[in-house]
Symmetry: C2
Subunit: 209 residues, 2 copies
């Protein structure tokens, strides 16, 4: 078999595996959200997918692993947003604006995952719970550092960068509670307006006067 | 019996009833928080209090009524803060500052109640869930109106008052997730700093330049 051919086949196999994983997660999100984690069996997840339980076990060792995957989605996406923004060659103000947009989008497209995390955190294995909390702390640390960078550059004016980071994290994370995909504003509008409110909170000079 | 004597006795009876209710709620908060609502019986609440179940039934008709009382605490205290501030003869900036302080304090002193609400909202009776949601909407409406008042007075500068109200509600409500009573800052310090961040978010002129 030519190396190229092999790589291509592996690529397809990986894609199929990723697709199966993501479909399994989507079905579990629906059921955990509707019925709760404790009232949902892996059989029910398999049934919703129209497959048998071994299909699921090929990708997840347990219901608990599925829960951990779902509960970490919101903060994992938020950290991805953070890590995509920090290396940008841009001013702290511009970085914070882009981060705000990507962070809000990450939260609003993980709305059900975050709701499940809020409800089911007690059902997480201790190691998973700690890992997710470490990710949250990592996010807060990186956001605090970005705010300090802006303060030192004279672009942001806040007296307590860490508290401001927690406040920004909260105003965005809480959006999972009130956001409605069919609401008054489109996703893009909510993203833009929340990002501006973040810049306002740190008193960034956005040229609004 | 002299009317005065009767009033005094009724006063004591009311106080005793209020004390029993609040002790029952406190025990239920502990147990719902530790073990979850579904894993807690009224017998366990009675045991924690060192009383028998009829003691509890004298004040709550069911476990569901206890849950509703606990879940509504955070928003009820926040609405009390709102309603105590709106009639003040003060500028919108001063009202928002005082509201921020009282709202943050209301949330941080209802931390476990809010955590239980986030986890257990699915276990609320529909009528209780709707009543709590109506209180939240009432809070958002009143906060939006206060922000509009400040915008019209030229004191606040925000383009979308409703979105800013949701952002403020979120940054404060989410504090139940990260606040630790034994943390870096005292309750009073967190209250002061969060209140200032709220004023920053609406670009209030707080004399900081």
């Amino acid at each position: 078999m030519a190396p190229q051919r092999k790589a291509q086949q592996l690529g397809i196999r990986d894609e199929v595996a990723a697709l199966k994983r993501s479909r399994t997660i989507a079905a579990a999100v629906e059921l955990f959200y509707e019925k709760g984690y404790e009232n949902t069996t892996l059989d029910a997840v398999a049934e919703r997918l129209g497959v048998t339980k071994p299909f699921i076990y090929a990708h997840f060792s347990s219901k608990g692993e599925l829960l951990a995957e779902i509960c970490s989605r919101g903060i994992a996406s938020s950290l991805e947003a953070m890590d995509s923004v920090l290396p940008l060659k841009a001013s702290p103000t511009e970085k914070l604006r882009v981060l705000g947009e990507r962070f809000v989008r990450a939260v609003l497209t993980s709305q059900m995952h975050i709701a499940i995390f809020s409800r089911e955190e007690k059902n997480l294995a201790v190691a998973d719970f700690n890992r997710i909390n470490d990710m949250r702390r990592d996010f807060d640390r990186k956001l605090t550092a970005l705010l300090r960078e802006g303060i030192e550059a004279g672009e942001f004016h806040v007296s307590d960068a860490h508290m401001a980071a927690l406040a920004i994290g909260g105003m965005v994370s809480w959006a999972y509670v009130w956001y409605r995909p069919d609401g008054r504003l489109s996703l893009d509008e909510v993203v833009d307006r929340m990002a501006l409110l973040i810049l306002d909170m740190v008193n960034a000079d956005t040229g609004k006067g």
